[in-house]
Symmetry: C2
Subunit: 252 residues, 2 copies
């Protein structure tokens, strides 16, 4: 398919976490780098669309992790705009070994907003034609993460302050930072014992500089060695983000 | 000089801060990437030296910033091991435009440690021969940052918790993270108004996972449009890092 964009990337030392493997936030950064570069190559880069006062925002990622690449590994970043309707666009991302080994597969849903009003707008058809995406009546939805509040025990909350260097060019927190807030409260013992295998994350509201973030999590009972954690991020009592993560014990 | 190592790098979106320019932590990450790749190319990579239970630690950086490159700019990362004595090695780094425009110049002092004992050891001569560094009796020192405690008003402290994802493969905080702790307390108004022109940072003790960091700063009276800030990071009352930063007002 020539509507799949591909670029090579070598994993470097500051992109890996304590495990020596590509960090989860950096997986997302590289995925978005791929779509940014595809858009620029097609003449639909941020510079051009921001000049029209419109921009893309991600609503949800569903990330399947087969194997996180190690430092120095060379991988392919691939992405494709799959389908869209007037309000939602579905984009896929793949990180692969150069031999085609699947490493990470990401399904995602984006919307287009008016940059000033921060309100959703219709996606111009010329834009999706450029990506050769398929126009559909209903996009293929990603299921919602399980709701943390429907389980019986009270989830714990940990406070984080949004720092100046957490915000990007648009004065919003880079989506990749949310992972640190969500995973950090699980603690070193958990994070060293388990490897993230799947993350379903839904962004409901944008987080701004200076906000006090409270990160809640709950660890569900383990089934067959697989552990599921539920996460919720709130600011002033309002839900900003929800996520469901699947974990497997690290092989010794 | 063929003992200067050079590699190209294109600045990408997640490497820039809110100003749209290469962030200060990323400047350091790229510099160290250069020396890591030079070392690997010379057969003195971390993998080999860590196998001998030794490793490099940085003691001090003195960074001069002429112009921070913007997103998409292609730059050269250059580095050279300049001189050494049995305990200290002096290394220089440059970020340059492809036309040779100086962007960032960094002078630095490194030591070698026993990785288990975390104690300084003698630098093996074979190592420095590899880099063609000059053996000297006394290395050219970098002046200490001005002491924050010698000035009269009480510096303010802001608390930061060392998060799991702040630590690197060696279970220590990546040096680049210290900048966020030091600069974040200055606040958005200051950080948007002023541009960092020089940073002299001295690492005295390693910061570990789970530590509660207190970041102190003081803004010295402005002289001729130049502002100097002094910084100190403490853990349990012990000084871990000190820095002196020079700032100039951003051009409108």
């Amino acid at each position: 398919m020539d509507d799949v964009y591909t670029e090579k990337h070598q994993v470097v030392y500051y992109e890996v976490d304590v495990s020596g493997k590509l960090s989860i936030p950096m997986i997302l950064n590289l995925a978005i780098l791929g779509s940014t570069n595809q858009s620029a190559a097609l003449g639909m880069g941020n510079e051009r669309i921001h000049a029209n006062n419109v921009g893309w925002v991600v609503l949800q990622y569903d990330m399947q992790i087969d194997r996180r690449p190690k430092v120095d590994e060379v991988i392919n970043i691939k992405t494709q705009a799959v389908e869209y309707n007037p309000f939602f666009a579905v984009r896929k991302f793949w990180l692969e070994g150069l031999d085609g080994e699947p490493l990470v597969t990401i399904n995602s849903i984006f919307a287009m907003i008016d940059m000033q009003a921060r309100k959703m707008i219709r996606i111009p058809q010329v834009m999706m034609d450029t990506y050769q995406a398929k126009r559909v009546k209903h996009i293929t939805r990603i299921p919602d993460p399980q709701d943390i509040t429907t389980t019986t025990t009270e989830p714990q909350g940990t406070n984080y302050h949004v720092r100046f260097f957490d915000i990007d060019h648009n004065h919003h927190v880079n989506n990749a930072h949310y992972f640190a807030w969500m995973q950090d409260p699980l603690g070193a013992d958990f994070l060293k014992k388990y490897e993230t295998k799947r993350v379903n994350i839904k962004y409901e509201n944008e987080i701004r500089y200076g906000s006090e973030v409270v990160s809640y999590y709950k660890i569900l009972p383990s089934v067959g060695g697989e552990v599921i954690t539920l996460h919720q991020i709130k600011v002033d009592g309002q839900v900003m983000t929800e996520a469901e993560m699947y974990w497997q014990e690290n092989q010794a």
